[in-house]
């Protein structure tokens, strides 16, 4: 349940919110105010969490557009040949799910101020991410060897589109994982950056599980 993990972490980062103030009363921050927007200030750090939440909403809409196209296109034509996904996808999916657990473990160690263990699990997550991408490339090679290309059938077109779009997002996530691993700490605190990257990573994991189910059960 990646979403639940995210909410937990958010609560730790966020300072207590104050209630709204009535008209004419002395100023009280409501959500936004009170902490200015200087570098490293709580307001700006919190904005990164908000920004990531919002970004995930946009990414979700992008993928849902593709998913609805998949469903409509499957029902629209008579030319749909269901694609049997390469078996290695099961392994890849397992790898990505495990990486969600390792990044959670890393975050827990971070919140306990156990930085060596945090780094350890963070590197494990990064390695699992790379392993997932390599696995996806192997799946592509297997399909190509079987003569299934992008334009072979709408089902294969969607398979390549989904895996490519998701793979690019994972690639971005890996860049972010590495950036946090070699963190120099200027604008973002390590607490914030590891938090938002973990949010993203869980989301990409959950998204993949959904796409995988769609490609296997919904084919």
């Amino acid at each position: 349940m990646p979403i639940v993990t995210v909410t937990d972490v958010v609560e730790i980062i966020e300072p207590k919110r104050q209630g709204p103030s009535g008209p004419g009363k002395p100023p009280r921050g409501f959500g936004g105010g009170g902490d200015g927007s200087g570098a490293g200030s709580p307001g700006r750090q919190r904005a990164y969490v908000t920004g990531m939440t919002v970004a995930l909403g946009g990414i979700l809409m992008f993928f849902m557009a593709l998913v609805s196209a998949y469903i409509v296109r499957k029902g629209a034509g008579t030319d749909w040949n269901s694609l049997i996904v390469p078996r290695i996808l099961w392994v890849n999916t397992a790898i990505l799910i495990v990486s969600s657990f390792t990044i959670s473990r890393a975050r827990r160690d971070f919140l306990r101020d156990d930085l060596p263990n945090f780094r350890h699990w963070w590197y494990v997550t990064t390695a699992l991410g790379f392993l997932f991408l390599i696995g996806q490339l192997i799946a592509w090679r297997q399909l190509r060897a079987a003569g299934v290309y992008l334009d072979s059938n709408p089902s294969s077109s969607f398979f390549y589109v989904f895996t490519a779009a998701h793979g690019l997002h994972i690639l971005g996530g890996l860049a972010a994982l590495l950036a946090v691993a070699f963190h120099k700490g200027r604008r973002l605190t390590l607490a914030t950056s590891s938090n938002v990257v973990a949010m993203y990573w869980h989301f990409m994991d959950g998204l993949w599980v959904f796409l995988f189910l769609l490609l296997t059960l919904g084919r």
């Binding site: 009170g34 920004g51 946009g58």
Partner: protein, 585 residues
């Protein structure tokens, strides 16, 4: 908590070099002006294209020196139509009111030093700039600009060169440009939302935000949810064109005597994806105008906005309903009558929040001490155009009526008035209103009023007759009506509209002149020339790099405290502490 506010007011130090100050600037104010100038360049091109189209409709056989072959071909006409629509919708109506003014004034109006993510903001602008270059490049690639309209329906847009001269390179450039634009808009939307949620000044509760901020906020949410869908659709269309897939292109298509190797794609699928984006997009264009109109009507009537909460909720309601009505663009696609009925009812439901806004605008100016300044004139013009254009939407929302009117000038009249010209009036109102804050000088009032009357009368002269010829059956999108008897009878009306378009286009030169002339020669503006209440008027003119010069305002009241009984001035700024408000004895 507030120690940061005083010691480290801005995340970024003030830039010193020319490049970092004016070109790759991280300052939301500079980025706002960059967006505005980009939109200004785009609107000039868009107007020239429309004037060329109007000219061709009336004098189809005229020789034009800059066109290869001298006489405009139907394909060239469709190229102008496509580019006009694309440039106007994306690079003017989406760019100026939201990215331009939103960038400049949203952080100041909520009392923040900058956007939440200044680097992302800069990236967003330069991506938009690249998108603009890409769409302009479509004019110059082999085959010229695409001919499939701003909606790019396949199969016309999905096959390539075979369907028309601009459908090769031109259409590809179009998709690339729009994909870049989607990316940029997503970055911008993310930034706007995070800024509103997390960077408001102490006391700036949601219900104390100026309605302009509400409008930018809701618009950003719409953009966030809509542009990703268009991006996905664009990628699929690009694959259909270049990789031989069949998402949208149907089977056994014979184009110019060639059988195409596509299988069973669904052109209707594109329409669904496009309009799922496209309908929210028209609200992306108009909502900031609604915010500006509310703001200006209250300020220049010297009265609080009528029904502040209703206005904010109505905007949310319009945004919410905007995602459930895309099917009304597709009544003629052969959809199930039950779907058509659902989309029809939901579409008419938008009339409710729209009417709430309209009556609240009227309630705001009712019995007010109205000051007929240029920005106020444009705000009033906005309301007029929004109502005139919006009412025809109720007719088009009926599937049976739409079947008859869909392909006619009635639709052209409807959307130009309600989202085109009304949104442009919002932009003009915002420009005349905020110019003194942005540049430290006033724009000329007499020229502003002249500009208003020419544009206002011109807009009605161009678009009102279109309703009537539309009802009479004048088909849209044709390049030449002279050869068909029942269409040729409308030529006198076309001539009238074309002359009105010429005059209106020339009238815009007054605005351009006023804008650039006033930069140097306008009367010096005080910090608060309109006696307005919101935070941007509490700071220096133009605002310093960190907006408030090292300190942060606190907010004590709502944004529209005008003519409060017992108070000396007829306005109370949001940042003034209660004990500082001068009261009459």
């Amino acid at each position: 908590m507030s120690s940061h506010a005083h010691s480290a007011p801005h995340a970024m130090p003030a830039p010193t070099g020319f490049i970092s100050k004016y070109v790759f600037s991280l300052d939301h104010k500079v980025i706002g002006i960059q967006y505005f100038l980009l939109a200004l360049a785009a609107v000039c091109i868009g107007i020239v294209l429309s004037v060329l189209m109007r000219f061709h409709l009336v004098w189809p056989n005229a020789h034009l020196p800059f066109i290869t072959g001298g006489i405009m071909t139907p394909e060239q006409y469709l190229g102008l139509l496509t580019m006009h629509g694309t440039i106007m919708v994306f690079f003017v109506l989406t760019t100026a009111p939201q990215s331009g003014f939103g960038n400049y004034f949203l952080p100041i109006q909520i009392g923040a030093a900058d956007m939440a993510f200044p680097r992302l903001n800069m990236l967003s602008f330069w991506t938009t700039f690249l998108a603009f270059i890409a769409i302009l490049a479509a004019f110059f690639v082999p085959g010229g600009s695409p001919i499939s309209g701003w909606t790019a329906y396949p199969p016309l847009s999905g096959i390539g060169q075979a369907t028309g001269p601009g459908e090769g390179w031109g259409q590809t450039m179009w998709i690339v440009s729009i994909a870049l634009f989607c990316g940029a808009s997503l970055m911008g939307a993310l930034n706007f939302i995070a800024t509103v949620i997390d960077l408001r000044a102490p006391g700036m509760t949601l219900m104390r935000m100026p309605l302009t901020v509400w409008a930018w906020f809701v618009t950003a949410i719409l953009g966030l949810l809509a542009f990703g869908v268009l991006l996905a659709a664009g990628i699929l269309l690009l694959l259909d064109r270049s990789a031989g897939t069949s998402f949208f292109v149907p089977a056994a298509e014979v184009v110019t005597d060639t059988l195409l190797n596509h299988k069973g794609g669904s052109p209707i699928l594109w329409q669904h994806l496009f309009w799922f984006f496209g309908h929210p997009e028209v609200y992306i264009a108009i909502l900031p105008g609604m915010g500006v109109a509310s703001h200006l009507l209250s300020t220049f009537s010297r009265k609080p906005i009528y029904g502040y909460r209703a206005m904010a909720y109505a905007m949310c309601g319009i945004g919410f309903l905007g995602f459930m009505v895309w099917g009304h663009h597709m009544f003629v696609s052969g959809m199930s009558p039950y779907s058509g009925f659902a989309f029809s009812v939901l579409t008419m439901a938008i009339g409710v929040p729209s009417a709430i806004k309209t009556f609240n605008w009227l309630g705001t100016i009712w019995n007010g001490k109205i000051q007929f300044t240029s920005p106020m004139m444009f705000a009033l013009g906005f309301v007029s155009l929004f109502v005139s254009g919006g009412l025809s939407g109720l007719f088009l929302a009926q599937p049976a009526v739409d079947n008859r009117l869909h392909a006619t000038y009635y639709v052209v009249a409807h959307f130009h008035l309600v989202m085109g010209v009304a949104a442009i009036f919002g932009i003009f109102g915002a420009t005349y209103f905020w110019y003194p804050k942005m540049f430290g000088r006033m724009m000329s009032e007499p020229l502003g009023k002249l500009h208003f009357w020419i544009t206002f009368a011109g807009a009605y002269c161009i678009f009102m007759p279109m309703h009537f010829i539309g009802i009479a059956g004048a088909i849209r999108r044709y390049a030449d009506y002279t050869g068909v008897q029942y269409l040729a009878q409308f030529q006198p009306v076309h001539k009238f509209m074309t002359i009105a378009a010429f005059i209106t286009a020339i009238g815009q030169l007054i605005f351009i002149w006023n804008f650039f002339w006033s930069l140097k020669h306008g009367a010096k503006a005080s910090d608060n020339p309109w006696h307005a209440t919101t935070l941007e008027w509490s700071t220096a003119t133009p605002p310093p790099h960190d907006n408030f010069g090292g300190h942060y305002p606190s907010v004590y009241r709502g944004p529209y405290e005008f003519s409060v009984p017992g108070v000396t001035e007829d306005y109370i700024p949001q940042h003034l502490a209660p004990q500082e408000v001068a009261r009459s004895k």
